[in-house]
């Protein structure tokens, strides 16, 4: 089966992905792909299975059925660290930083497997400057504001220079200024070749930012298309607002 990616070569191809928790099919035969260099969104009401979908792709949970291919390689059986090393970075719905470590250590710990360490400190500084976090480098992550924690988690997701970054609700719980900063950062990394796959409920931002949108409801993909197509899709309107 050839999946429609919108444009460009697919970095991530998912077919028939299924995850069952007890009697609940949290993800039910989902197929989609993410085009290289794109910003792709996965939308859906609360409880529709989006975060479970992300957890399956990043190896936190194991699927019951289906395949996940990243850059042509099957990854459904791999552990999270192996998937991360292949080039997928991620954030979580509720930030999951190493709270008792400093900002700098949060990045260092994710960077320590990099072969080229000679420029390690400069790279960390450049990255923290980009995220407006350098001045907070020696603070414990748990003492940052929620918005700063979101930024730090994003920085941690890109420290290994991954091909694909998966952001789980990057705009949730942060103010407009911080959300705008987040948008700028996503666009910056996209401009240097990073592909993004994100979940969020901030429709306006998502529709402005993304090239392609998939919508989930009750564990299934109910619509895929560009933002304009999704906006007017009756199945999406029904999923969000009911009949």
């Amino acid at each position: 089966m050839k999946l429609e990616t919108g444009n460009g070569e697919a970095v991530l191809v998912i077919e028939g992905l299924t995850k069952v928790f007890g009697g609940i099919r949290a993800v039910d035969g989902c197929s989609l792909s993410v085009a290289s260099g794109s910003i792709t969104a996965l939308l859906g009401p609360n409880g529709s299975g989006k975060s479970t979908f992300f957890n399956l792709v990043t190896g936190i949970d194991r699927p019951n059925a289906g395949s996940i291919q990243f850059l042509g390689r099957k990854i459904a059986h791999l552990k999270p660290y192996q998937i991360a090393r292949l080039g997928i970075g991620r954030t979580f719905q509720l930030t999951r930083l190493f709270g008792r470590m400093t900002v700098l250590e949060n990045l260092r710990v994710s960077d320590i497997d990099q072969e080229a360490r000679s420029d390690g400190q400069d790279r960390l500084r450049d990255l923290l400057d980009l995220f407006n976090l350098w001045e907070h480098r020696d603070r414990y992550a748990s003492t940052l504001s929620y918005g700063q924690q979101k930024l730090l988690e994003f920085a941690r997701a890109v420290i290994r220079q991954p091909r694909l970054v998966m952001l789980d609700e990057p705009f949730a719980g942060i103010n407009r200024v911080m959300a705008q900063k987040m948008v700028e950062l996503i666009q910056h990394f996209q401009s240097i070749g990073t592909t993004f796959f994100l979940i969020d409920h901030e429709m306006k931002l998502v529709m402005q930012l993304c090239n392609r949108v998939h919508v989930m409801d009750f564990g299934q993909i109910i619509a895929s298309g560009d933002p304009d197509q999704i906006r007017s899709d009756p199945r999406v309107i029904e999923a969000y607002f009911g009949r």
Partner: protein, 310 residues
């Protein structure tokens, strides 16, 4: 002197000072210090796995017991000199940890704690019932070898190695990975850290010196039995000491050992009939009032800087 060298210099100076003690004090004090060094080895080793990586082992006495029995059997049955037997005790404990770790490290938090507690109890029962090898509840008598100062020095070296190990882990990238696992294992794995490898390494590192300490203790006491060297009380002691000082810090466990050893000795001398009850109440107070331990208290009050190497 550079800052990273300071803790090593302090430990080295203390080690030299303690090395001079046998010429100055009587056997009572030497025995007290010997047991204190044993607990520095145990609490310090426990700290590698449970303090840094956050995997609460309640069965670490298993490695102490394995070391004790390995050394005792090698000395009494294979006629091997005690220093070599003690080293073998540490190695066998390390091998056992490698095998056990592949199973129990699949579990987390309270499940891991219960599994390790069960493991130590299983080994105690095994040692109790395997008459042919261990002489069961009769225990093994070991011919004495040297006076208390010999074992005092051996335990001092083991304690110094435990502290050095903590220091090296505390300032290494490996230590940073363990701290990441402690804070959020899934997130750590998602950043590319091979958590299984790190946890197994920590488990093995935390098992070797308890094995060595067990071997030295066996030869020092000249008699071991399952109930003594697989006693859950030894685990409780090492956990309480590490928590009191500050789990996950380099010097916390040694501070906890010194404080609890001295207090325990005072309780024993002043209140011999209720000393265990008092000791238990003290541990409960520590957990309630100072969950981060003495190090956390000193750091939060600004007495000590927050650094990973202290």
């Amino acid at each position: 002197m550079t800052r990273p060298m300071l803790p090593i210099a302090v430990v080295s100076a203390a080690t030299v000072a303690f090395a001079a003690l046998p010429a100055l004090v009587n056997n009572y004090y030497l025995s007290f210090l010997l047991v204190m060094f044993m607990y520095v080895s145990l609490a310090g080793s426990w700290n590698i796995l449970s303090g840094f990586a956050g995997y609460p082992s309640f069965g670490h006495v298993a490695f102490f017991g394995i070391g004790s029995y390995t050394a005792a059997l090698l000395i009494t049955r294979a006629d091997i000199g005690w220093p070599i037997a003690v080293v073998m005790g540490g190695l066998v404990a390390g091998v056992a940890a490698t095998l056990i770790g592949t199973v129990v490290l699949r579990l987390r938090s309270v499940f891991f704690a219960i599994a390790t507690l069960g493991l130590a109890e299983s080994l105690r029962v095994l040692a109790q019932s395997w008459d042919g090898l261990t002489k069961g509840g009769m225990g093994i008598s070991i011919p004495p070898a040297g006076d208390v100062s010999v074992f005092y020095y051996a335990m001092l070296v083991t304690a110094a190695l435990a502290m050095l190990l903590n220091y090296l882990v505390g300032r290494s990238d490996f230590g940073l990975r363990l701290l990441a696992i402690r804070d959020d294992e899934d997130a750590a794995s998602s950043t590319g850290i091979n958590t299984t490898q790190c946890k197994t390494a920590a488990f093995v590192l935390s098992s070797i010196l308890p094995g060595v300490a067990g071997g030295i203790y066996a030869q020092y006491i000249s008699y071991i039995e399952p109930a003594a060297v697989f006693s859950v009380l030894i685990t409780i002691q090492m956990v309480a000491m590490a928590l009191l000082g500050g789990a996950g810090t380099v010097f916390g466990p040694v501070i906890g050992v010194v404080v609890l050893s001295v207090i325990g000795e005072i309780f024993w001398a002043k209140f011999p009939f209720i000393q265990r009850g008092l000791y238990g109440a003290l541990i409960m107070l520590v957990v309630f009032l100072m969950p981060g331990g003495i190090m956390d208290l000193l750091q939060s009050r600004g007495v000590l800087r927050r650094r990973r190497t202290i």
